[in-house]
């Protein structure tokens, strides 16, 4: 068996990729179109984005399947193609992945709530995530990355589902808001509770993504590091989106400022770093340089 991502984490900081959705849009994904549909309709475009991230220095790319759960796909009327779109997502990433690099099967939130806030039972969520995980594993993902979770209960359903239906290691990132009393998910889950429960349920790496910029993320990584010894993932946003007068969107934290905090993230305890909203292959390239300077 070749070296796994977890082996690599023990040796050095591992670099993930950056945003996918904005890259697809920059290549013509029409507004309102399901991004996952391009895994089948325009696989070459998705492959090119993965390739660009590998060229920039990513050790791991995450598949174009963030919204690939049956429940989320149903918003586009594509729930009947769940297995097909996820399988394709993993396969096309696999094809462009060089030796010694990895594919993480991305699984985002359903966008719906569990009872009592919503209509769904935990068993239903678990089955939906199990289905997605199976297809990603069949398509050749090396690990599963459950991302951007704002509800610990949903994250645990995803984790259980993923572990039930595939033999792959499962990583989980939650998304936290900074409020006056500390970091909390939308549902009010604390950092301590998230880290502890995810670890107990068998996550092999845990962490946070989205919402916070790289400076704010540093504080959060410190807080997470106090709660777990698992490898920690940190994928910050490049600040807040700002719409220019030319109608183009940029992010408030520019590339240089974003990357400036990468050494701090690592010092605070992050083992696996990457980008989130507002980041691009250029950000990843600069992060790769920052990391190699650090180890050099």
């Amino acid at each position: 068996m070749s070296r796994s991502i977890l082996d690599l984490v023990r040796q050095r900081t591992v670099l993930l990729d950056g945003a996918m959705g904005t890259e697809l849009m920059a290549r013509g994904l029409p507004q309102g179109t399901c991004p996952e549909s391009w895994n089948v309709e325009k696989p070459a475009v998705v492959e090119e984005i993965h390739r660009r991230y590998f060229e920039a220095g990513s050790d791991v790319v995450s598949t174009n399947s963030f919204g690939g759960s049956r429940i989320k796909l149903a918003g586009h009327g594509l729930e009947g193609r769940t297995a097909e779109l996820n399988l394709a997502a993993a396969r096309l990433a696999r094809v462009v992945t060089p030796a010694g690099r990895y594919v993480a099967g991305s699984m985002g939130p359903t966008g719906k709530f569990l009872k009592p806030q919503g209509e769904f039972a935990e068993g239903e969520f678990e089955a939906v995530f199990a289905e997605q995980a199976r297809a990603l594993a069949d398509g050749g993902a090396d690990v599963l990355l459950i991302e951007t979770q704002y509800d610990l209960r949903e994250a645990l359903c995803a984790l259980r589902g993923a572990r039930r239906s595939s033999p792959l290691s499962v990583f989980v990132t939650m998304t936290f808001n900074a409020v006056p009393r500390g970091y909390f998910t939308l549902m009010g889950d604390t950092v301590a509770r998230c880290m502890q429960e995810l670890e107990k349920e068998g996550a092999r790496a845990v962490g946070a993504n989205c919402t916070l910029n790289s400076e704010q993320m540093t504080g959060l990584v410190k807080a997470m590091r106090q709660e777990t010894r698992l490898p920690l993932i940190a994928q910050a946003n490049a600040g807040q989106p700002v719409l220019g007068s030319d109608g183009r969107v940029s992010y408030s934290q520019g590339l240089e400022d974003y990357v400036r905090f990468v050494p701090d993230l690592i010092r605070a305890g992050a083992n696996i770093v990457g980008g989130c909203c507002g980041t691009s292959p250029a950000y990843i390239r600069a992060m790769a340089e920052s990391i190699s300077r650090r180890t050099a």
């Binding site: 959705g21 904005t22 849009m25 507004q31 309102g32 918003g75 586009h76 966008g111 709530f113 009592p116 806030q117 409020v179 006056p180 009393r181 500390g182 909390f184 998910t185 939308l186 549902m187 009010g188 807040q240 989106p241 700002v242 719409l243 007068s245 109608g247 969107v249």
Partner: protein, 217 residues
């Protein structure tokens, strides 16, 4: 039970998100022949205000907001038919047409704003997600709305908020409605840029903003 104690219990039921309790207390108020408009104003509204404060202080989160908004609904479900029977109407803060903008299927934030506006006394017409611009205007015209509230989670769909404002202008309807925008990528700066009347960062702030802009009746 003294009226004041009943009001305190009503407030507590809302703060604790106790829908069954909120409904039961409303029933007691009806049976006791109390002034139901006063019951709403002095019993339930202070509860939802307290919930807003707890949210702002970072004590309450989305589940608590939803439970409290549901408790408010349970109380109003008992009180509204009684008010109608006596040809009264709960004081409405204004009529709101709300939805997630065309091209965007994200509805968690929008649903929360919709619930909180309802709990805050607005009459809300929720059009759901991925709502065509045309549909917002049709609905607002047909119900005589005061507000059109637009949600967007994506930077790419957010631009449709601006298009809606432009469409209103084109039809000489701009002055008829207050247009409020929200969603993760939105900001005050964006609201200004889009020509909207306001922006709110979260559901509690949205209720405050709408109240501050509501027509004086």
């Amino acid at each position: 039970m003294k009226k004041e104690d009943l009001y305190l219990q009503m407030k507590k039921a809302i703060v604790e998100g106790d829908g069954a309790g909120a409904g039961r207390l409303a029933g007691e108020a009806v049976k006791a022949g109390l002034d139901l408009l006063e019951v709403i104003e002095k019993g339930y509204v202070p509860g939802i205000q307290k919930v807003g404060e707890l949210w702002e202080q970072g004590e309450y989160f989305l589940p608590e907001l939803i439970s409290s908004a549901e408790a408010m609904k349970a109380a109003m479900a008992v009180l509204n038919p009684e008010l109608q029977r006596s040809r009264l109407q709960a004081r409405t803060a204004g009529k709101v047409v709300i939805g997630t903008i065309e091209g965007d299927i994200h509805d968690i934030g929008k649903n929360l704003v919709s619930s909180m506006l309802q709990a805050g006394g607005f009459e809300v017409f929720d059009l759901g997600a991925d709502v065509k611009l045309e549909r917002f205007i049709e609905k607002a015209e047909s119900v005589g709305a005061d507000f059109i509230c637009l949600s967007a989670l994506l930077t790419t769909t957010m631009v449709n908020q601006k298009r809606l404002v432009a469409l209103l202008r084109e039809r000489n309807l701009r002055d008829r409605y207050k247009v409020l925008v929200g969603g993760a990528p939105a900001s005050q700066r964006w609201a200004d840029e889009a020509g909207a009347d306001g922006y709110a960062e979260n559901a509690v702030a949205a209720v405050k903003l709408a109240k501050s802009l509501a027509p004086k009746r």
